[in-house]
């Protein structure tokens, strides 16, 4: 994100639109970066104006993760594509037990996109980063012709450092380990779907989009080495996440439907749309697989943090050659919890 201190007219942030010159590498691009992005993200590393950021890192193992955000609609109850792009990548880094340090961001903008919306998104990213006490230290901007993108696409890459002695990985679940969920499921997916023009239902549900790393610190402080792994159940929901872990670790899972928190509004919306909350995306929840002896301490630590207030023990890993995720339904019978087959609801993150 290069920006020299040029004297040009201010961007028309009220009614202006992105045009191809904003991606052409000239003065217009520099101005866009300065007035929109530097303004929103300002920090000493970024403000140096180099094509890269150079910084020292504390000792330990480094974690790196990247994610692209193409959500539609761009603004939804409880967040927008900007805050989501910060939270989502922080969470991917944090699930390794790492302390997130910095983010890099790249934008793909569609010709004609309103500058007012872009500024709103950039400010939302800046606020999300500040709230999470991390910095956006480098970035890139491209503009594509009208029709070649859908408003704005954002990619973020995050790095962090794992404290010594902690080794979390999806292949570490063992039969007997316990599964803890940090709170209610399905909020994000339903909040986004409620704003799809052709679905037309109204709800008060907010996305749960949030940065989870401070909850993770509390968990690591409480039970550290007893944690086997953590993961945030985003696309595909809790069902996909448990199936991924069962494959990676070579175990099965047995969970209990009546222990899984689902808000009544979310349950009702899912009923209406024919969805199972287990398949619906979350952006501010995590599951932890933990050694059985650490369950009580972990639950207590999680419930002491606002984002883990509704944490619940939902089941356990089992010995199962076929790696099934099985669930005792609240009705009393058993069933499999499978990956969603067929159409994933499009572009929820």
């Amino acid at each position: 994100m290069t920006a020299s201190r040029l004297r040009t007219r201010k961007l028309d942030l009220r009614s202006g639109r992105v045009d191809l010159s904003h991606g052409a590498g000239g003065r217009a691009m520099t101005q866009l970066i300065k007035d929109v992005f530097l303004e929103a993200f300002t920090n000493p590393l970024l403000d140096q104006g180099n094509d890269q950021a150079a910084f020292n890192v504390p000792g330990g193992r480094m974690v790196m993760s990247t994610d692209a955000y193409v959500i539609s609609p761009l603004f939804f109850p409880g967040g927008d594509i900007g805050s989501l792009a910060v939270h989502g990548t922080i969470n991917d880094v944090a699930m390794a037990g790492a302390r997130p340090l910095h983010l890099a961001v790249s934008f793909i903008l569609e010709e004609g996109f309103p500058l007012a919306d872009l500024q709103k998104i950039a400010n939302s990213m800046g606020n999300a980063a500040r709230d999470a006490k991390i910095t956006i230290v480098t970035g890139d901007t491209k503009v594509v012709e009208r029709g070649k993108a859908d408003g704005v696409f954002i990619s973020t890459t995050g790095i962090g450092v794992v404290p010594p002695g902690l080794d979390l990985s999806g292949d570490r679940a063992r039969p007997g380990d316990q599964v803890i969920l940090s709170g209610s499921i399905g909020d994000h997916g339903v909040a986004v779907m409620s704003k799809r023009s052709n679905l037309g239902f109204e709800t008060e549900i907010q996305s749960d989009s949030a940065a989870l790393h401070e909850l993770v610190f509390a968990m690591v402080d409480a039970v550290g080495p007893s944690l086997r792994l953590m993961r945030d159940p985003t696309r595909g929901g809790l069902a996909a996440t448990l199936n991924e872990i069962s494959q990676q670790s070579g175990v099965g899972f047995s969970i209990n439907e009546s222990t899984i928190p689902v808000r009544p509004e979310v349950a009702a919306a899912c009923e209406l749309l024919g969805l199972d909350p287990l398949n619906v995306a979350n952006e501010g929840k995590l599951i932890a697989v933990v050694a059985p002896e650490a369950v009580e301490a972990l639950l207590a630590a999680m419930r002491g943090h606002p984002l883990g207030r509704d944490a619940a023990l939902i089941g356990a890993a089992t010995q199962d050659d076929q790696h099934f995720v099985q669930m005792t339904t609240s009705f009393g019978g058993g069933r499999i919890v499978d990956w969603l087959s067929g159409e994933q609801l499009p572009r929820i993150c």
Partner: protein, 384 residues
């Protein structure tokens, strides 16, 4: 959720299960068919099988509209959609259904056909109004439940004098299918289908009422209990069927009294009759040609009939010969007994009708119940 949670009450279910276990005669077998995919889904989704004693078995019936739609009709829809002037409107669950020659509506869309998902028939009407230069065709499928909304859309199109709207009608009728199952000839090597009673359709019956089942129950001497789609509805219906069998009765009983009456919805029936008449014969995937089992346009609405507007003559297409759906739909085999189940055929790549829709017997078993297969095989091995 009020008015929903009450019908999913686990404690009440266990109490009814205890009564069923007490009243089912131990040395007697009870084999009931739930006709509708909605029931199949509830049974699998809530694990109702686990609440029943071993001598009560549920057989999954053909009541899944996506499943029984023959391949030839999807081929027809694709041919229509490939015409440059046509916009084909369809419900989303039809998109992935495999058609002839490794194609589907989804693949046709990727190849450039204008195929759009709608949530109701009225969305299709709105589309025709908004885009007067397009020939909007609504791909209508389903049992008596979805027929009234199609009829209303056709009436609206007539009233609005929409000349760019038509309907490809594939609506089918429930009672002839139940009759066909009970009437089906013996399958060599497998015997005759054994059905001791029916869990009767929920939503279909809200439209047609309970009366159309009377002749089936009387003629074939099988009890029918109309039941709702919630799990407690199904469990209660099973108890009612057990009691009928124990008492030697074969009546039509109505468990779903909160929605179904004897006469049904007369306004909906009038709407259907105004626009549609019974076809001489229609092919059902898995069941074959069934006489008087589907609807077509009456002459007075012929101008809104896509089949006539686009001169469609369905070419029959065969299913994979290894596919056991025909025997599964008749209750002669279980999904896991098909060689293709879980190997070549899964919800991601369905080969046969029962795997196509989430309400199909194979898809429901794959998605929710297949963990039981290994346990059963192990148990059988242990006994042997």
């Amino acid at each position: 959720m009020r008015y929903i949670d009450e019908y999913r009450d686990g404690a009440l279910a266990r109490a009814i299960a205890v009564t069923i276990a007490r009243e089912a005669v131990p040395d007697r077998r009870y084999q009931f068919m739930e006709f509708c995919g909605g029931h199949t889904h509830a049974i699998s989704r809530y694990g109702i099988e686990d609440l029943l004693p071993a001598n009560i078995q549920m057989v999954h019936g053909p009541g899944c509209p996506v499943c029984v739609l023959p391949v030839g009709r999807i081929d027809d829809a694709i041919r229509m959609a490939m015409r440059p002037e046509v916009t084909l409107c369809t419900y989303a669950d039809l998109l992935r259904v495999p058609a002839s020659g490794d194609t589907s509506l989804l693949k046709a869309r990727a190849a450039g056909a204008d195929i759009r998902m709608v949530y109701s028939t009225l969305d299709a009407i709105r589309l025709a109004e908004a885009e007067p230069d397009r020939e909007v065709v609504f791909f209508a499928i389903g049992f008596e439940t979805t027929t009234p909304p199609t009829a209303i859309a056709i009436r609206q199109a007539r009233k609005k004098r929409l000349t760019n709207f038509s309907v490809f009608c594939n609506h089918v009728l429930t009672p002839p299918a139940i009759r066909a199952i009970l009437d089906s000839p013996e399958v060599p090597g497998l015997g005759r289908v054994r059905v001791d009673g029916f869990v009767g359709p929920a939503h279909v019956s809200t439209v047609i009422g309970t009366l159309p089942y009377d002749s089936v129950a009387a003629e074939f001497e099988k009890p029918v209990v109309i039941a709702g789609f919630e799990p407690l509805d199904v469990v209660q219906a099973i108890l009612m069927l057990v009691r009928q069998m124990n008492e030697g009765r074969h009546d039509v009983e109505n468990q779903y009294i909160r929605a179904v009456t004897a006469q049904g919805n007369l306004i909906a029936q009038r709407e259907i009759a105004e626009i549609f008449e019974v076809r001489a014969s229609f092919e059902w995937r898995g069941l074959g040609e069934l006489p008087a089992s589907a609807l077509r346009f009456r002459e007075s609405y012929a101008d809104l009939d896509a089949e006539r507007r686009f001169v469609i003559e369905t070419i029959p297409a065969a299913d994979n010969p290894a596919c056991e759906c025909a025997t599964i739909l008749r209750g002669l085999k279980k999904p896991a007994q098909c060689k293709l189940f879980g190997t070549l055929c899964s919800p991601e790549t369905p080969m046969g009708p029962c795997m196509v829709s989430p309400e199909g017997a194979c898809a429901a078993h794959w998605t929710y119940g297949r963990f039981r297969d290994k346990a059963k095989i192990d148990a059988e091995k242990a006994i042997a």
